[in-house]
Amino acid sequence: MYTHKELQRIANELRIDIIKAISRAKSGHPGGSLSAIDIIVYLFFNEIKRTKENALDPDRDRFVLSKGHGVPALYSVFARLGLITNEELMNLRVLGSRTQGHPSYTDLPFVESSTGSLGQGLSVAIGIALAGKLDKKDYRVYCMIGDGEMQEGQIWEALLSAPKFNLDNLCVILDYNKSQIDGYVKDVMNLEPIKEKLIAFNWNVLEIDGHNFAEIEKAINQSKTIKQKPSFIIAHTVKGKGVSFMEDKVDWHGKAPNEKETELALQELKKLLDING
C-alpha cells in the first residue's frame, strides 16, 4: 500500500509522462487524461494492485476505461508498472505501436477492452462483472466513464441493467470534469441532477473530489461493503488538472501542447513535485 503522499507524487510524475507522450505524438487528449490520472493511480497502485505477474490472471480485478480518449493516463500507469516500456509510452500513436490512439484490446490486452466509441465500455464492464458472478469469482470490476460520454443512450441502458443483476462487484467512476469538445457539459447537454438520477436507478451513489486520495480511498472502500447493488462514484475533477493554463479549459480536450506550451507545462509539473516532496 502506498501513502497518499506517495500516490500524489506518482500521479504528478505520470502527469509529466502524459504531457511528454501527447506532445511527442503531436495529438491526443491531455485535458481528460490529467483529470483522470489521480483516480487511475489510486486504483492500480492501492486497489487492483496490478503487477506484471497478475496482469492477465483470470482472478484479477479489472479496470475498463470507457472514456477511451483518456488512454495516455492508462498507458503512463502501464509503463510505470512495467506492463509496457517507457519507449512504448513515448511512441503513443506511432505507426506499429501497441499504444494506439485509443485502447486496442488485440494490441494490448491490459486495457481489458477496446474503447473510444463512447458509451460502450460500461456494457463490456457489466459483462465482465456478470461472468465473475457466474464463475463465483471474487474479482471486482472498475469502469471509468466520462461526463460527455454519459450523454450516450447506451450508458443509460447499462445504468438500468447493472442493478437488475445485483452487480455489487461493479464500481463505476464518473470523471466529472464538466467539459467536452463543444463546450461545458451543462451547456452542451446537461446531466444534472446526476446523483438523484442514479439513486432512482438503484445505484449506491457516492460523491467525491476526484483529486483527493483520502476521498478516493474512502469511496472505493465503501463501495466494497455494499451488497447486491453496483456502486457509482461521482468524482468531481478538473479538466487539465496540474497544468494551470489547461485547467478547466475546453480547448485542451483534444489538443497537444506545442513545444513552448510543453516546456511551460513540464516546468509547472516539476514544481508540483518539489512542493509535494
Binding site: P58, S104, Y105, T106, E112, S113, S114, T115, G116, S117, G119, Q120, G121, L122, S123, V124, A125, I126, G127, I128, A129, L130, A131, G132, L134, D135, G153, Q154, E157, A158, L160, S161, F165
Partner: protein, 308 residues
C-alpha cells in the same frame, strides 16, 4: 416442410448447453421469437434477459466473451445489426467470441413488414473485420452450424429465418465452415443460393430439368469467408451464373460472388435479391412471388436468361 432455422437454433443451443458450460445466451425481449427461450428454460443462470436494449446486450455479450464465455446475443436481424457501432468496436475490434444471432431474416417474415425485416444485415456484418457470416438453409444445417460455432475462434453473425424451410440434408450431413455445398449437377447454369432461397433454387432446378436445362445449385452457408474455389470452378464449368438471397442486392451474397469472380474469373453474374428497395407486408408466399424469389420465378428467370 421442415422447421424454421430459428427453431433449429433454439433446440440445438439448449442441447449444447449441457455439453459446454461456457455457453451463455442473451436476448432483448424476443426470446419467444428467436427461440432462445428453449435455452432459458433449461439454463436460467446462463440466460440473460436484457429487455429491449440491443446495444447494451451486445456490449455485455462482449464482456462475457472477454471473460471466457461464448456469448449468443439474439434478436431480430434488423434490430441487432442496427446496433452496428457496438458490434464494430465491442465485438469485432475486440475479436470477442460473440455469436450475433439475427432471426427473422428477409422479406420471408411476411406480414410484419419492413421495420421487422433484416434486409441489409449480411452487407453490414460482412464488412466488419474479424467477423464470419453464416446463413444455414435447413434444420440440419442449422444444427451442425450451431454445433460448430461453439468452438469457432472469433465473432460470428448467424442469420436465421422466421418461416419454416424444406428439409434438404439428412443426419449424415457434415458441415464444413467456409465451404460451399453442391446440391445438384449441371453445366447449363449455376446458382449460388443462401438461406431460404436454397430450397427454392433446388425446386427451380427440378422444373428446369424437365425442360432439358441442367442447373447446378450451390448452397453457400458461409458468406464470409466465402468459398472462392467452388465459385471459380463453377463459373468456369457453367454457362451462366446466378446468385439468390432474401436480402438487399447490395452487399450480400451476390456482391461476395461478384467480388471473387471479378478478381479471378471475370464473368457476367445475374444477382437475384431485393433490388435496393425496402420490403412490405404480405404473406411470405405472395412476397416471394412478387420479388421473384419462388422456385417458379427463379426457373423462368434462368430459362429466359439462357435464351438471350
Amino acid at each position: 416442410m421442415g422447421k424454421s432455422t430459428r427453431l433449429a437454433f433454439g433446440e440445438t443451443i439448449a442441447q449444447l448447453g449441457e455439453l459446454y458450460p461456457q455457453i451463455v445466451v442473451l436476448d432483448a425481449d424476443l426470446s419467444k421469437s428467436t427461440m432462445s427461450n428453449l435455452f432459458a428454460k433449461k439454463f436460467p443462470d446462463r440466460f440473460f434477459e436484457m429487455g429491449i436494449q440491443e446495444a447494451n446486450m451486445i456490449g455485455i455479450s462482449a464482456g462475457l466473451a472477454l471473460s471466457g464465455k461464448v456469448s449468443y446475443a439474439c434478436s431480430f436481424a434488423c434490430f441487432i445489426a442496427g446496433r452496428y457501432d457496438t458490434i464494430r468496436v465491442s465485438v469485432a475490434y475486440n475479436k470477442a467470441n460473440v455469436r450475433i444471432i439475427g432471426t427473422h431474416a428477409g422479406i420471408g417474415i411476411g406480414e410484419d413488414g419492413t421495420t421487422q425485416m433484416g434486409l441489409e444485415d449480411i452487407s453490414l456484418m460482412r464488412s466488419l473485420p474479424n467477423f464470419s457470416v453464416c446463413q444455414p438453409c435447413d434444420e440440419i444445417e442449422t444444427r451442425e452450424l450451431i454445433k460448430y460455432s461453439v468452438t469457432h475462434n472469433g465473432p460470428m453473425y448467424i442469420r436465421l429465418t422466421r418461416q419454416n424451410l424444406d428439409d434438404i440434408f439428412d443426419d449424415n450431413y457434415k458441415f464444413e465452415f467456409g465451404k460451399g455445398v453442391q446440391l445438384s449437377d449441371g453445366n447449363d447454369a449455376v446458382i449460388f443460393a443462401t438461406g431460404s432461397l436454397v430450397s427454392e433454387a433446388l425446386k427451380a432446378s427440378k422444373i428446369l430439368k424437365q425442360k432439358g436445362i441442367n442447373l447446378r445449385v450451390i448452397n453457400i452457408h458461409t458468406i464470409k469467408p466465402i468459398d472462392k474455389e467452388i465459385i471459380i470452378k463453377s463459373a468456369r464449368e457453367c454457362g451462366l451464373i446466378f446468385t439468390a438471397e432474401d436480402h438487399n442486392i447490395i452487399g450480400g451474397l451476390g456482391s461476395a460472388v461478384a467480388e471473387v469472380l471479378s478478381e479471378n474469373y471475370p464473368a457476367k453474374i445475374i444477382r437475384i435479391g431485393l433490388p435496393d428497395v425496402f420490403g412490405e407486408s404480405g404473406t411470405p408466399e405472395a412476397l416471394y412471388k412478387k420479388y421473384g424469389f419462388d422456385a417458379e420465378s427463379l426457373a423462368v428467370k434462368i430459362e429466359s436468361s439462357l435464351k438471350k
